[in-house]
Amino acid sequence: MSNQITISDEQIEFLLADVLAWYGYDFTGYSRASLRRRIHRVFGLDKQVSFAEFRYKIINDKSYFKRFVEQITVNVTEMFRDPAFYKTLRNLVLPHFGTYPFIRIWLAGCSTGEEAYSIAIVLKELNLLNKSLIYATDINPIVLEKASQAMFPMSQMKQYSENYISSGGIKDFSSYYSANYSLAKFGDELKSKIIFSTHNLVSDHSFNEFQLILCRNVLIYFDRSLQFNVLQLFDQSLENLGYLALGTKETIDFSPITKKYKRLNTEKIWRKQGERV
């Protein structure tokens, strides 16, 4: 690592300014340490030889720009990641919606969809799936394309099944997919309740009102002030008494919305308190 060409902080700022000017994607509020690492990584992976060429390619080659975005945003995800979180969702959050005529859920930063299918499975087991709709969004069209195929590597299924069981799952996990060579294909019933679409948390607006918003392991990539803006966007998009769920290491503390919310037990889930009259 240390002997390779290093891209300076200043060059990174140039690149971010280019990307904003030419494509309208604003990464300037992202945490620099992670961004630097990702930019170096794609520079190395693609065997780029000079910063000038790399920059030129990003500006002039739209398909390379797509790759650049795919590589600098971290897409790692899992089904039923943090089983304790899903257990709380199953036992304490979703049952509140039992009497609602319709449940709208926004999953922001859904990556390749593992989380969306996990939530659909829990909804199904609670007999809520029929009246639910999950809006799963991400900045990156490439991951959404993968997500809509509902196919994940078979090699992951053992781990996912273990996660599912420790999250309180009551069925045989393998009943949710059919094995197709090295891929596990999840059923259409789950997929029919998920809408995958692009949405950029930095620049796009609120598009509906939800009972539950989940955004896990996305805010860690943003600096504090961008985090606050995004939390405000969530607040505008959440019904009174709705729930907001973040990743294990994320919080709404210190943000302007915190006083309207009450935290649920030990998970990173908050409930919006009704307006006082």
Binding site: M1, S2, N3, D9, S31, R32, A33, S34, R36, R37, R38, V74, V76, N217, I220, Y221, D223, R224, Q227, G247, T248, K249, E250, T251
Partner: protein
């Protein structure tokens, strides 16, 4: 070392026992932060913080993302995230691919810290069974920081410090009983205003 702005202690299998031995003898007016990155199973993070804080009067806490890094404090990298350091001396967490089959990866934290603290960084690699941390130490020396390793003959799993000594110019090879006094010697008494 002229001035130490941060010390990172990292390891894998067999490193906890070393930490438990070293912590009680550290000065409590430490002029720099101590950041601990150890490989371990997911969850139960509070256990490690509890274990360590029972051995020292220094403040021990698990890292929170975007938190300001303060002296006189021992920070523990949470499990299952990479730990990065920002230019403005705050922590960032990153849930990207594992590096050397590890998350947190020691290489990732050493490299990120080296870019920020350059020659004012000391990194100590303890006992462990893989080579995570070795490339990171290389980067630390590239930025003229101080690379340290546990004496492999004292490590319950010697592979990690052995690899470090083989591949990187290590400034001091330390036995556990000598670590605290070495670390204390890096302390710069805070100047009285």
């Amino acid at each position: 070392m002229k001035e130490c702005k941060a010390l990172i202690i990292a390891g894998s299998a067999g490193s906890l026992e070393v930490l438990l031995k070293v912590l009680p003898d550290l000065r409590t007016d430490m002029s720099f932060p101590i950041i601990i990155v150890v490989h371990r199973k997911q969850g139960a993070d509070f256990l490690l913080a509890d274990l360590l804080s029972a051995r020292t009067k220094l403040k021990v806490k698990e890292v929170e993302e975007k938190e300001e890094i303060m002296p006189k404090t021992i920070y523990i990298a949470p499990s299952d995230y990479h730990l990065l350091i920002e230019k403005e001396h705050t922590f960032s967490l990153d849930y990207s691919e594992k590096v050397n089959y590890s998350r947190p990866s020691i290489d990732v934290t050493f490299q990120s810290a080296a870019e920020v603290y350059t020659n004012k960084l000391a990194c100590l690699l303890l006992s462990g069974s893989n080579a995570d941390g070795v490339n990171g130490l290389e980067t630390v020396t590239h930025y003229k920081g101080v690379a340290l390793a546990q004496d492999p003959s004292t490590a319950s799993v010697s592979y990690m410090p052995e690899q470090a000594i083989l591949k990187v110019k290590i400034a001091h090879i330390l036995k556990p009983e000598d670590m605290a006094s070495y670390i204390n010697s890096l302390n710069q008494p805070l100047t009285v205003q």
